[in-house]
């Protein structure tokens, strides 16, 4: 499962889901699903999110469940 730190970093930057969604060009619901790990964003969207949250993509997303060790 794809885990992420979007919720934590969004709070740190003081963004609401709506504001972050607007900044990266998606709907609020999409941000919600990504935060819950129920939707895996494309590379383009991941890069946009990482840019807005001032972090690298590999620090923002990681795989949970042993895949990261392979």
């Amino acid at each position: 499962m794809l885990r992420n730190r979007i919720k934590e970093l969004r709070a740190r930057h003081g963004f609401s889901q709506t504001e972050l969604a607007k900044r990266v060009g998606v709907t609020r619901q999409t941000i919600g699903f990504i935060e819950k790990g129920e939707f895996s964003p494309s590379i383009t969207l991941s890069l946009r999110l990482a840019k807005q949250l001032q972090i690298t993509v590999d620090e923002l997303f990681w795989l949970e469940g042993g895949d990261e060790d392979e």
Binding site: G25, T27, T30, G32, F33, I34, S42
Partner: protein, 171 residues
Amino acid sequence: MNKSDLRVQFPLWNIALWIILMIWTYGVVYAVDMLLIDFKGVFENVNGVLIINWHVPEILSIYIGLLLSIIFFIAYFIRIKQHNKENPTNKLVGISFLKPSEFLEDDEMLRQVTEKATKNVYVMYSHGLPLIIFFLIVFDTSRYVYILLLFLLLIIHNALFYREIRKFLRG
């Protein structure tokens, strides 16, 4: 985007239209049948007195269906105008033959939701149509029942689509 967005509600508008057409078609099928058999059974001569056998439900359904259709289309075009005024960058056209207006493709997740909803509809048709074919083979029934079954498929199709989009909106 929220549940009151017209693009989200589109399947509900479609369902309403199919229900209205179900009512109207009941009378229209009867009227066509009457034309084909030269109104046999409608006019009877009993002891020199002309008796007209009114088929009230069928006649009423034509008028009620027509009235509801007019009300529907007035409300529909008002709603589209209102939507286009509120969303100048996401305008809708009243009647589209190329791309259904309920397709939501604002972002990559909505595209995925629309694909999933479309897949569910595909599965429904792949089961529903053979069932209807079986029904038509086995039962010798009124033409209206066949039409009714097709309307029911269209209603289920839109209900499935709406359910998938609502799941997304609930977040």
